[in-house]
């Protein structure tokens, strides 16, 4: 594996709202995709041991928007040669989703939804310190129909 350019932000995150445009009062889905480098893993949302750091996605409060709860994919049980402990981890590409509801009186225009992903993971040769990475999605609020 190549050296990590930044060990505090080593996951590739992207976020979007589905559908990208909502009218006031409508519901949608917030989707965050997480690319975990090959050979690496991060702890699951519900890790195997109490001291391990859970993967958690959170969003800043935003007027007229209700987001959540976040839905996490099932973890992969991973038994390592070195331990009797069976870890619950994520590898590869993750898709995290959260329901999103737009208030009836929401003003039209572009809105930024800001969140943070907290996680702890390991490369093949080291375990990295717990990190928090920002994530942002844009929601287009459609103008009311005439």
């Amino acid at each position: 594996m190549n050296a990590l350019a930044d060990t505090s932000r080593w996951l590739a995150l992207s976020a979007r709202v589905e559908p990208a445009q909502l009218a006031a009062g409508q519901r949608g889905r917030l989707v965050v995709e997480v690319e975990i480098p090959e050979g690496c893993h991060i702890e699951a949302h519900a890790p195997a041991e109490p001291f391990l750091v859970p993967t958690e996605l959170g969003f800043e409060p935003a007027d007229g928007l209700v987001i959540g709860p976040v839905e996490y994919p099932p973890a992969e049980a991973r038994q390592f040669d070195w331990s009797a402990m069976v870890l619950r981890v994520y590898r590869g590409t993750l898709r995290l989703e959260a329901p999103l509801a737009l208030a009836a009186g929401a003003a039209p225009g572009s809105r930024r939804i800001r969140g943070r992903l907290r996680y702890q993971g390991c490369t093949p040769t080291a375990c990295l310190m717990p990190s928090t990475q920002p994530v942002e999605a844009v929601l287009e609020v459609a103008p009311p129909r005439p």
Binding site: T7, E43, E49, F51, L52, V53, F80, W82, C127
Partner: protein, 182 residues
Amino acid sequence: MQRAREIEHRAIESAIAAGHAAPVATYEVGDEVPDLVLPTLDGGVGRLADYRGKVVLLVFTATWCPYCGAEAPFLEQEIWQRYRERGVQVIVIDVKEPPEVMRPFRDRYGWTFPVWLDRTGELGLTFAPQKEGLPPEVAVINAHFILDAGGRVRYREYLNMERFDARARTVIAELEKVLEDA
């Protein structure tokens, strides 16, 4: 050697104070480790010099590290309880964590050996390997150093996922060698 290490320590401290990336001054096998002074988990002061005359196993750890958690019970049961009567001292150095985080971890695994706190990660800089792309305070997690009675490094081992052994059997074998030589 001692003088050189003191200079390296000062260079690291200066680099940290200046906000620059610090040079890594890793202790090699054969190097003498100067006295280390760190706060202990129990609110005291830990001094490496107090253990001169004993074989010392230094282990760098963090509660969030799954490898460290896997190894934690064996450090107490297989090393400390089996070797303390033979003049071995186990000391764990917790890297960049507050005591309230480490305390329940120690209690969970029933550790009865000293736990010291490297709150800033600065001490870890002097024990870390040079792993490409990894800051020293990360690369040093789960490092093991065996010091002989004179404080010289006799063995060191850094985390490698592919050959990790939670029972630390390699470390135990190396301890036996150092004890035989003593």
